[in-house]
Amino acid sequence: MKEPTIEILNEPSKDFEQFYSESNGIKIVPEFYNGTKEKILQRDSGTFAKWIHKNHSEINIDYNPNFKKISLHNNEYWLPLVFLASDTSVQIYIGLIINFMYDKLKGGLTGEKKEAKVNFSFECKEGDDYKRFNYSGDLEGLEKFKKIDLNKILKD
């Protein structure tokens, strides 16, 4: 497992500021990737958005499928960059990913693990800082972050 990285975004995107101040829930955000000419969505964006829509209808999910998709053809779930509004904590979001992954792991062979590549942006509770969290690894590694207060770590 690679250690996750946390970037401090001093200048958050306007999209994020607008979403954070006006909306709730989760916004799936297209991004530029490896020289693409336009913003794209990761292959599993739609699968993930539909899973939240069906299984957690109480969570507002802001998702526009009308972007090109990029598919890596490897055996991991590559989830999109998301913005988390003030009503959706980091812990809730990590819990969603873990449940999604366990659902998709049904049928795996003995010893088989699926890995997740996860990125999300959120605002710190107490300050003006905006953060971006990037993680790539297995579920056990991600589960650790469900139990700890990321904001507290970031302040240290």
């Binding site: 990737y33 739609g46 699968t47 499928p65 998709k69 053809h73 049904k106 049928g107 062979l109």
Partner: protein
């Protein structure tokens, strides 16, 4: 395993015991004929009921698994190691589907035995790195309803079963190949570098072939494996004076580099055979 009585009964009546017996005796064509007879029975069933259709899909996956299993061993038997890899991957894909769509994800004992055996077999192949391609695609069309499978308008989820058919996203409008990369965990393990069947890369499979030909083992008798690494003599080792430059080309002194590498660790898989094991 199944959700309907109709298919449960059919599965119980059509035993796979003869298939296993013929596989054990390396009568591969006979084993395939046994499967064809079972396939005829399942093809007779006509239904509109979603549960029955999904059970028929599951039954067909079990048949596909057995066909690929027989062919995997047949290819190893006739020294077509490179091609046997693809059939082995077909087996494992079928097993994933069987595990996924069985009632409560139950694993049947016999299929569990083969799952364990095939995962051992997979380790004898030389493939650790696979090719993976990054593509930019306009959209993925749902194989069931034709809508964009990533939109909320499409009610189907990728990889799920609907009236006996799996929902697949069909790439429409591949705009660019973003990159080709080498990965350890690909979506499709069939994307490999090809080796010659007589090459040293297939050392493990060549050993297995000799054991099959000399009746030391059969496709049914591989039960488990012990994977303790063992030490072997390092054929590159050159005994030098302590202060001489090391033979490995590191530019370090021998005493600070490979002085203790006279024996090196290598992967060692000991197959555990159970001759008394019978599946029929």
């Amino acid at each position: 395993m199944f959700r309907t009585e109709l298919i449960t009964d059919l599965y119980q009546v059509n035993s796979f015991k003869l298939v296993y017996k013929n596989l054990h005796e390396k009568k591969f064509q006979n084993a395939k004929k046994n499967l064809a007879l079972i396939k005829n029975e399942i093809q007779k069933i006509i239904s509109q009921d979603e549960l029955v259709l999904n059970d028929i899909y599951l039954f067909n996956q079990i048949l596909s698994f057995h066909t690929s299993l027989i062919t995997t061993w047949e290819e190893i038997y006739i020294k077509k190691y490179s091609s046997s890899w693809n059939y082995l991957q077909n087996c494992l894909d079928s097993l994933r589907n069987i595990n996924k769509f069985s009632l409560n994800n139950q694993k049947e004992e016999v299929l569990n035995f083969f799952e364990k055996q095939l995962l051992i077999l997979e380790k004898l192949y030389p493939y650790n790195i696979f090719m993976s391609m990054g593509m930019e695609v306009d959209l993925y069309e749902c194989s069931i309803c034709g809508n964009d499978i990533d939109s909320f308008e499409c009610e189907h989820d990728i990889g799920e079963l609907y009236y006996g058919k799996i929902a697949i996203g069909i790439a429409k409008g591949i705009r660019d190949i973003n990159h080709v990369s080498m990965v350890e965990k690909p979506m499709d393990k069939r994307c490999v570098v090809q080796y010659d069947d007589n090459g040293h890369q297939f050392k493990g499979l060549q050993f297995l072939n000799q054991q099959l030909l000399s009746n030391q083992l059969t496709p049914i008798t591989i039960y488990d494996a012990d994977e303790t690494p063992r030490k072997k003599f390092n054929e590159d080792y050159v005994k030098l004076e302590r202060n001489e430059k090391c033979f490995c080309g590191s530019n370090k002194k021998f005493k600070k580099c490979c002085i203790n590498k006279q024996y090196i660790e290598e992967q060692h898989i000991q197959l555990i055979i159970k001759h008394e094991l019978t599946l029929w």
